[in-house]
């Protein structure tokens, strides 16, 4: 299977690989996927408690090149967005940006889920009302 240039570029030079201290108040962590399914993403955000702007984002991903590229791209997009703006990132934006083929759409869904899970985690920790997340069904 041939990968798009953008997937390859993110795979070769992944942005924002790393970990944050999940216990910190201003850090939100989203861990999605399952080892059995062949992909697990952990996405973390550090949010300014005053403005709710995402100051930093990090990821680690177990998965194929498209999963790694999707999470790398997600961390780029998250920075400097408020947590409300970040909620509007749609998996299809990732599909389009990375030119993912249909068989890899689940990677983008996983990235969207990871973003939302990280934001939810942050909201819970900081006493913000929890959001109702609708599950995207792709499998």
């Amino acid at each position: 299977m041939a990968y798009s240039k953008k997937v390859l570029e993110h795979y070769e030079n992944p942005r924002n690989v790393g970990s944050m201290d999940a216990k910190k108040q201003e850090v939100g962590t989203g861990l999605v996927g399952a080892p059995e399914c062949g992909d697990v993403m952990r996405l973390q955000i550090e949010v300014d408690p005053e403005t709710h702007v995402i100051k930093d984002a990090k990821f680690k991903t177990f998965g194929c090149g498209s999963a790694i590229a999707s999470s790398s791209l997600a961390t780029e997009w998250l920075k400097n967005k408020t947590i409300d703006e970040a909620m509007t990132i749609d998996n299809m934006d990732i599909v389009e940006e990375l030119a993912l083929p249909p068989v890899k759409i689940h990677c983008s869904v996983l990235a969207e889920d990871a973003i939302k899970a990280a934001i939810q985690d942050y909201r819970k920790k900081n006493g913000l009302p929890e959001l109702e997340l609708e599950a995207k069904i792709v499998h």
């Binding site: 399952a34 062949g38 697990v40 194929c64 790694i68 689940h106 889920d113 499998h139």
Partner: protein
């Protein structure tokens, strides 16, 4: 200079040996005749060439020429053997036994036979890919006409004890068919000593061309018959109609002759290189060999690198060509059914890489591969949340994963 990329996927297909190609070329141009044309010298020389190749192929497996049916490859041989026996022996019974780790060409033929009213038993394997011979014996009934067990597995290289299997099968009055695609030309296969009744194999796994294979059909003790699955001119003693692929068959014959001469030295050299590769890669933490280390093909190793995903890993292998049991390569989301059948757990199955060496693999290539793989695994582990959790001592089984 080392030429890149390096080919370590010889269990998928092998390059054609230049000596094989040389033998084939005249049969495209000068001696292009149809081997079935009895009325002129063009046909005669093609027929002579096919006869010679048939001898070369038969000799490699200790068969006689009349027991070799040329086919388009191993898949056709699987279909012809299984469907052909099912049709021919329908009065005796309708039960076939095979194994969950067989090639798709066997498993899907089994499914087809079930639709045609046959019954198929699929034997399970242990965590090294071995079948339980007692289970096999118990599964054979008076309706069992055929037992289909591969000689050596294509994904992890486990070699089945074909002689012992043959004894059990024959004691119970059934026939033994073996898909020996991965074994013939790589390790000694002797249809008499091994007690094989039918056997499929193919040229392109032994440095011959693609599109040509053979089905061995025993003619004595017992005389085995299969019902043809292709109707037509009655070639190959009525068992497989269709104009013979003369250049391909000539190449197959030459490849078989070379295998006979060089198999032992190839196997010795390749198993040393394989061991070197394997031992070096097992130096990485959390790397495991799949298959039976005491009974496996000499040129192959299948290794799971835990906490990295196979396809992601292969993407990092820019300069080596290997294959993976990972989900993504199959375009479905399921990891290798063969590795799952070993009870490996999907996480290990997703993390497996098959390295298969061949006649043209060099030590320099293996040294390069060792460095390349170590770098890639280390890089991907640094990116893997599972590796981080493992390193922190978190038991991944205690986490409630959101299965998707």
């Amino acid at each position: 200079m080392l030429k890149l990329p390096i080919y370590l996927d010889n269990s998928s297909t092998t390059p054609v040996d230049p000596r094989v190609l040389e033998a084939m070329i005249p049969y495209y141009t000068e001696h292009f005749g149809n081997a079935a044309s009895r009325s002129h010298p063009f046909g005669w020389s093609a027929e002579d060439a096919v006869d010679h190749a048939r001898e070369q192929v038969a000799r490699l497996i200790n068969a006689t020429e009349k027991e070799i049916i040329f086919t388009s490859g191993a898949t056709e041989g699987d279909n012809l053997a299984m469907k052909g026996v099912f049709d021919m022996y329908s009065r005796k019974g309708n039960h076939i036994i095979t194994v969950t780790t067989e090639h798709k060409a066997v498993l899907d033929t089994g499914k087809h036979i079930e639709k045609m009213g046959g019954e198929v038993t699929y034997l399970k394997v242990d965590n090294q890919g071995n079948i339980d011979l007692k289970e096999l014996e118990a599964a054979i009934t008076d309706k069992t006409i055929l037992v289909s067990i591969m000689y050596a597995n294509n994904e992890m290289g486990t070699i089945h004890p074909i002689r012992e299997i043959a004894d059990i099968v024959h004691k119970k009055g059934a026939l033994l068919f073996t898909d020996a695609t991965q074994a013939v030309g790589k390790i000694p296969v002797d249809v008499i000593a091994d007690g094989i009744d039918l056997m499929t194999f193919t040229a392109h796994k032994m440095y011959g061309p693609k599109g040509v294979g053979a089905l061995y059909v025993r003619r004595k003790n017992p005389r085995v018959k299969v019902t043809a699955q292709l109707d037509g001119g009655g070639h190959e003693r009525g068992m497989r109609s269709g104009t013979l692929n003369v250049p391909g068959i000539v190449g197959f014959g030459k490849a078989a002759e070379l295998a006979m001469q060089e198999m032992h030295q190839d196997a010795e050299r390749l198993s040393a290189l394989r061991d070197k590769l394997e031992n070096a890669l097992l130096g990485l933490e959390e790397a495991y060999v799949n298959g039976n280390p005491n009974s496996r093909l000499p040129h192959l190793t299948n290794i799971s690198f835990k906490y990295v995903e196979g396809e992601g890993l292969m993407m990092a292998f820019k300069d080596i060509a290997v294959s993976s049991g990972s989900a993504c390569t199959s375009a479905s989301l399921e990891p290798s059914y063969v590795l799952k059948a070993l009870g490996l757990g999907d996480d290990l199955a997703h993390s497996s890489i098959r390295f298969s060496l061949g006649r043209f693999t060099t030590e320099e290539q293996i040294d390069f591969t060792i460095d390349h793989v170590k770098t890639a695994v280390t890089k991907l582990r640094e990116m893997s949340p599972l590796w981080e959790m493992f390193k922190e001592g978190i038991d991944l089984d205690t986490i409630e994963w959101a299965e998707h």
